[in-house]
Amino acid sequence: MNASDTLTGEHFFNGNIASAEGAIAAGCRFFAGYPITPSTEIAERMSRRLPQMGGTFIQMEDELASMCAILGAAWGGAKSMTATSGPGFSLMMENIGLGVMTETPTVVVNVMRGGPSTGLPTLVAQADVMQARWGSHGSCDMIALAPSSPQEMFDFTVRAFNLSERFRIPVIVLSDEVVGHMTEKVVIPPAEKIEVVDRRKPSEPPGPNYLPYKAGEDLVPPMANAGEGYHMHVTGLTHDQRGYPVITAAAQVELVTRLCEKIRRNRDSIIKCTEVDIEGAEVVVVSYGISARTSWKAIRAAQRKGLKVGQLKLDTVWPFPEERIRKLAGSIKGFVVPELNMGQIVYEVERCAAGQCKTRLVPHPGGEIHDPAEILKAIREVSK
């Protein structure tokens, strides 16, 4: 990786371009994708940039192929990424599960648009939040980051790569159409100031006793790449430490428990929230992505009227900040949850509040951002 590939400086980028540049700064040199509005600028940027720096860009025949190609590339030693939106995200689900099961580090950017189905290709929504968590079949714990500005598209894409390399899991960047197409100042630091994490390699040389899925205390096994002589077997079937398929309940318990626990035990280092005016607040607006920004206007208007309102902005939506919500619920009147769907994250907030305070959803099926007046109305009701 050449430091000069990182575009250090101040730029005026839309969110999608910022995400592509974040990937490059994090060391991504393999992109496979399929054009889909409103994410296409990411693929277009990568098709321009990667060939200049010895990376690989490939436009695949569909999103299933794109997802599989980035998994294969990861085993070839590359940091890899794809970008898509609703329908394409649905098509990627099965192979995101393959990535979870085979512990393959990679990054999937989903620039959310209105659905179900083809829905609103050019207009915003935030309705894939539960899909990011539960969309692939089987039990697993996921990591998803939700940027709310072009700067965060850059920063969170870098972080997504670092988390994927650290925990060996596909990490999802849950952006949305407004953030993807919004153009703002993006500051890219010098390459040496950007934290970049690389996957841990096996400490032992290749040999008959090598166990590709033997994890240490942190539950994340070191990862060999293809062509390094380790001769490992990688399968989507339930497998043992050798990587061999074992179709028993005992093997399932051992493997799936570890896959979930490697995320759960590290949730404190993964979860990030931005808290604004939380101290002494009676109402807390829990929001993410573009809705976090829509909320600011309502929060300021409420504060001007003397209401004690704060914001908990979810920089990571998964894992969910259960402890923080539980603690806040004991000391406030209630939560307001604006989201561009008919209710998703609100269920998590309710679950964690566990009846200690009110929880009020401000739903919107998408196509436009919330009217801040709706959020303000909810804040007023909850503060009564």
Binding site: I58, M60, A65, G72, A226, Y230, A250
Partner: protein, 312 residues
């Protein structure tokens, strides 16, 4: 598995390793090979310790394919540390798990795009996709034609047993007209694919077909194909005595071997359009296509030169 669940399948003996692998309760004791049968085999260094005997049925042709592949890559003199085998789902999809190289057992139909990512990220790898007719031509058909169009440098070895064996013998896009399967009980009414014709039309630069009787020719063809730059496609016709051939009264494995011996002709260089297969009709084998064309890597490299401001 109860006899009812087994349908017309051969019920497996309790000490067969395949029963262990398929039994969800995990109550069947693991198979311990009898020492007197566990003599050294020349391919042992290329087989994963503890994984043989395999899960395939008695009389299946996949053992021949596995042997031919391993001998083929040995004959080609490849650096075995740089060989990766990728497979999809199904009976053939289990081949990867027996080979002591870097092996990837992916999702149904997706071996080719996974292999494409692997190859392009690390071009020095020699990548082989080994999978079945259903995996490569039904659920994964789109990927096959596009990999052939791009001319990605890899071998695609497709074992065609004319049905979905792992799930108990259902119709596939290769099932001949009038053949009976579990989902075509009155006889298959759909037209099948002619696999070499599809591969050649999509752009594959090396296209051949053999049966599992042609073990030596298959091995030599594999040795040739893995060294041929670009996308090579080899179809291997295999019997499936448990499902397809039982349902169609084709006989036991040995009967099918006699059939391959008596009813196949080798016609190298013919137009693959002429290589259609019917239900137990004569089979045309041979190397149909062997041409040179710029590989994806080469074309991509040329484009990168332009991207960096140079000339092709």
């Amino acid at each position: 598995m109860s006899p009812q669940q087994a349908g017309n399948r051969q019920v497996l003996p309790a000490n067969d390793i395949s029963a262990v692998d398929r039994d969800l309760s995990g109550t069947v004791a693991p198979f311990e090979p009898d020492q007197k049968y566990a003599a050294k085999h020349p391919l042992d260094p290329l087989l994963r310790p503890g994984r043989i005997p395999h899960i395939w049925c008695t009389g299946c042709g996949l053992g021949v394919v596995l042997t031919a592949y391993l001998n083929g890559i040995k004959k080609a003199g490849l650096d075995l540390d740089n060989v990766s085998v990728v497979s999809g789902i199904g009976c053939t999809g289990r081949i990867a798990g027996y080979i002591q190289l870097d092996t990837f057992h992916t999702t149904h139909g997706r071996a080719i795009p996974f292999a494409t990512g692997l190859k392009l990220a690390k071009p020095e790898l020699k990548v082989s996709v080994i999978s079945g007719d259903g995996d490569l031509f039904a659920i994964g058909g789109n990927h096959l034609i596009h990999a052939a169009r791009r001319n990605v440098d890899m071998l695609v070895l497709c074992v065609n047993n004319f049905n979905y064996g792992m799930t108990g013998g259902q119709a596939a896009p290769t099932t001949p007209v009038n053949a009976k399967t579990q989902t075509s009980p009155y006889g298959c009414w759909e037209h099948p694919f002619n696999l070499p014709y599809v591969a050649a039309a999509s752009g594959a630069v090396y296209v051949a077909r053999w049966t599992v009787l042609h073990a030596r020719r298959l091995m030599e063809s594999i040795a040739e194909a893995v060294q041929h730059p670009g996308l090579s496609f080899i179809e291997v016709i295999s019997q499936c005595p448990t499902n397809f051939d039982r349902a169609n009264k084709g006989g036991e494995a040995l009967d099918l071997m006699h059939f391959y011996q008596n009813k196949t002709t080798v016609r190298n260089g013919i137009d693959p359009k002429e290589a259609d297969i019917g239900l137990y009709t004569p089979i045309v084998c041979g190397k149909f296509v062997d041409i040179q064309k710029e590989t994806y890597d080469c074309c991509y490299g040329n484009m990168c030169t332009v991207a960096k401001g140079g000339k092709k």
